[in-house]
Symmetry: C2
Subunit: 450 residues, 2 copies
């Protein structure tokens, strides 16, 4: 089919309307559960950062009825503002899931929209998970049509293409017909925004929040008859041609309904520079499987890709953002804590005497023969023993995806500072059993501080 | 100064902070009053169109406290949603003012933001007018930096660059310092959106509404410490480089504080295709100055630019949108009504027997020697007389700007269907005397149905 012959917007809208949960393959359903659980963790984990506090302070004075929960906190806002704030929250730790072909973080946009909507009207767990699958598919597929030019040009694809996912998912839950989903996608197209030049500022967090809100608003507007053009994604002077160059429109609809993009989803194992991940894996494995007293360590010898030193070579970090770019701290922290989460990058932990003592014993030898997702770690002990670990592929890569258990552990680490343990356990159970949950609002309610 | 040496965002922010109303030249102040009055008319005039009704229906369920008025109607919404709906309203008749060098419609974005803000906190008339001048300047100047590539690429510049104006104006009213206005402009940059491919659908109206809301939200976020990068407009991978190509950043700050873009503002005299405007001028002038009985007309002979037939050649329109693209109807309507406003494009008026009878006597002769803003009209009467009128430049062009009186007349025509005559007169008086009004909220209150 010639690209120009495809009406991408209509094709995607008809797919969304026609899709039935009963037709979703098991692996698709399971991956969506993982994405949901993982996303809730990110939103709760980011909920007390400055971006979230500022966003909340700005919008609370304009919020409508307390319809929906702010994750990890006690506030409630109207549906649109809750989606916005939870979207900001999701992104703030740079920990969201990633569709690896396009670098979009779909669930961080779709999740906030669906969670807020589920508190506003009756939505079953099946409906919510189904809408998440479809939204993930739509956002990732539109991304495929414009990637890589779009990203290279300077667009933050989560902000721009994310709203298509939120709009499609919300449209499905609202029961819109195909024409109205075309409008919702058109409104999402003409609201698409987000610049990569904003990285390093709170504006990066703004993107996923506003995209969630834009997609939701688009669905509500379309529901009320606010129309758009027939092909807001692929039409002339529309999304793919203005924010893309020679887009591959066919890519957006290839194998539609046969393969689901959510099955390609990846999760970041640790909240720090990705080149450190294999080192952390090795250190955690040594700590978990081979007993040793940290004070007996005489040297931690790391061999890894040269990027390890180039990107994360900070030897004496004292603050969170420095610690996240320090292979020295990360290795010591993983050996002592036997895990790596946000807590192991808190200022106080970075400055702890036993952590800095071990950190000062870490050396890194660059080796261009070692891949970026690979590392060798050797721990020398005062009794003469050497504990060795070789990690071939870091956790969270396509070759070594995170297990369900690892996602749970990450989830617990993200939620622990803000939610009681029993609530965290309930959330985990509820996510794995979501297809049996009659009222999806319980996810949002369990994700807030009551 | 080399373009790359300019930090456009900081320069504009410092200008906004330092500017004092006392330093505004008289002609700048007067043009801003015209822009304000004209904008209120557009917002009231559009307030009952379908776009507005749908937008209202969608957002009302999520609106916060009734802080601000919806123009031309009785509803009240929170500040952000009121700005959104009034922005939609402003655009819906395609009647907004235009910065001719860039085609942006600045007041349709800045006005809604400021009006909503003025009902939320104490703002004097001087403050509001001053903020409008500054917002108009900022939006138009950023537009100059990216025009024409930006527009040619497919961006609706009112949607994209408009938010800079709303953000700067709101930031001034909120008393933000330069750093926070830099952030507000950065947030506006990364929220910039709006595709020309949406023209012909309600999404076009969405752009000015969402831009107004984006600019306001940006200012409120910045006020609460939500930060951005140092140069969100001209920095790497920021607005001017991603939504522009080889931008002329220097153009954005040239003669800053010496010349004000609002002095270049233009107003569209009639709510229809711009090539018809000189014909309408001629017909109204004949009708006003030379008495005749419409039934005695045997022929209406028009000579004009070939675009007249090419773009507006519909001979037998029956509906509003067709009538607005018909030189035949427009000429007959102007001769009979002695004016042209929305009412003369109502379906019922288009179908009125005397109007269609006169319309059928209209002929149009294209002449490539005649400019687009020029027309010759000859009215042949049954008594043998011929009434002639030659219009050199249509009303609303730079050569023949609308007079204050003409803006008032347009304003009355737009408001009459929705507001009582006494309220309209009060609004007109209040606009001309805005610098003496202690509480600018009265504008918004007078613009709603009480």
């Amino acid at each position: 089919m010639a690209p120009d012959a495809v009406n991408v917007t209509r094709t995607l809208a008809q797919f969304v309307v026609a899709s039935r949960f009963e037709d979703m393959p098991d692996n698709v359903v399971h991956e969506a559960k993982r994405a949901l659980l993982h996303w809730i963790g990110c939103a709760v984990g980011g909920s007390h950062e400055q971006s979230v506090a500022s966003a909340l302070a700005a919008v609370t004075q304009f919020s409508g009825p307390p319809q929906a929960s702010v994750f990890g906190r006690s506030e409630r806002l109207d549906v649109l503002h809750a989606a916005f704030v939870n979207g900001v929250s999701t992104d703030v730790l740079s920990f969201s899931d990633t569709h690896p072909e396009t670098l979009i973080h779909p669930t961080g946009v779709i999740g906030p929209a669906l969670a807020a909507l589920a508190e506003h009207r009756s939505v079953s767990g099946k409906q919510l998970l189904h809408a998440l699958i479809l939204g993930f598919d739509v956002a990732s597929r539109v991304s495929l049509a414009v990637y890589p030019w779009h990203y290279d040009r300077g667009w933050h694809i989560t902000g721009t293409a994310g709203a298509f996912g939120a709009g499609a998912a919300a449209g499905k839950v609202l029961g819109l017909d195909a024409e109205r989903i075309v409008w919702a996608l058109g409104i999402s197209a003409t609201a698409a925004a987000g610049l990569r030049g904003m990285f390093g500022s709170m504006c990066k967090n703004f993107h996923s929040g506003r995209a969630a809100e834009n997609g939701l608003l688009a669905a509500f507007l379309a529901q009320q008859g606010f129309d758009s053009v027939p092909d807001g994604i692929g039409g002339p002077r529309c999304f793919a041609h203005v924010l893309g160059e020679s887009p591959d429109l066919e890519a957006a609809v290839r194998n539609l309904g046969e393969s689901y993009e959510v099955t390609k989803n990846t999760y970041k194992a640790y909240p720090c520079g990705v080149v450190i991940h294999p080192v952390i894996d090795a250190c955690v494995q040594i700590a978990e499987t081979q007993g040793f007293d940290p004070e007996s360590v005489t040297a931690v010898e790391i061999r890894g890709n040269p990027f390890l030193i180039e990107l994360t070579g900070r030897k004496t970090p004292t603050k969170t953002l420095e610690g996240k770019l320090s292979v020295f701290h990360s290795a010591a922290a993983a050996l002592i804590a036997r895990r790596i989460g946000e807590q192991e990058f808190a200022d106080a932990f970075i400055q702890r005497r036993d952590v800095t003592a071990l950190r000062d014993k870490v050396t890194v030898q660059p080796d261009a023969q070692i891949r970026e997702d690979e590392a060798h770690v050797a721990l020398k002990l005062s009794d003469g023993r050497t504990l060795r670990q070789h990690v071939e592929h870091a956790t969270g890569t396509a070759e070594r995806p995170m297990t369900d258990r690892e996602i749970e552990t990450k989830f617990r680490g993200l939620c622990e500072p803000y939610l009681p343990a029993s609530q965290i356990t309930s959330l985990i159970d509820r996510c794995w059993n979501i297809t049996d949950v009659p009222d999806a609002a319980t996810f949002a309610q369990l994700s807030r501080v009551s």
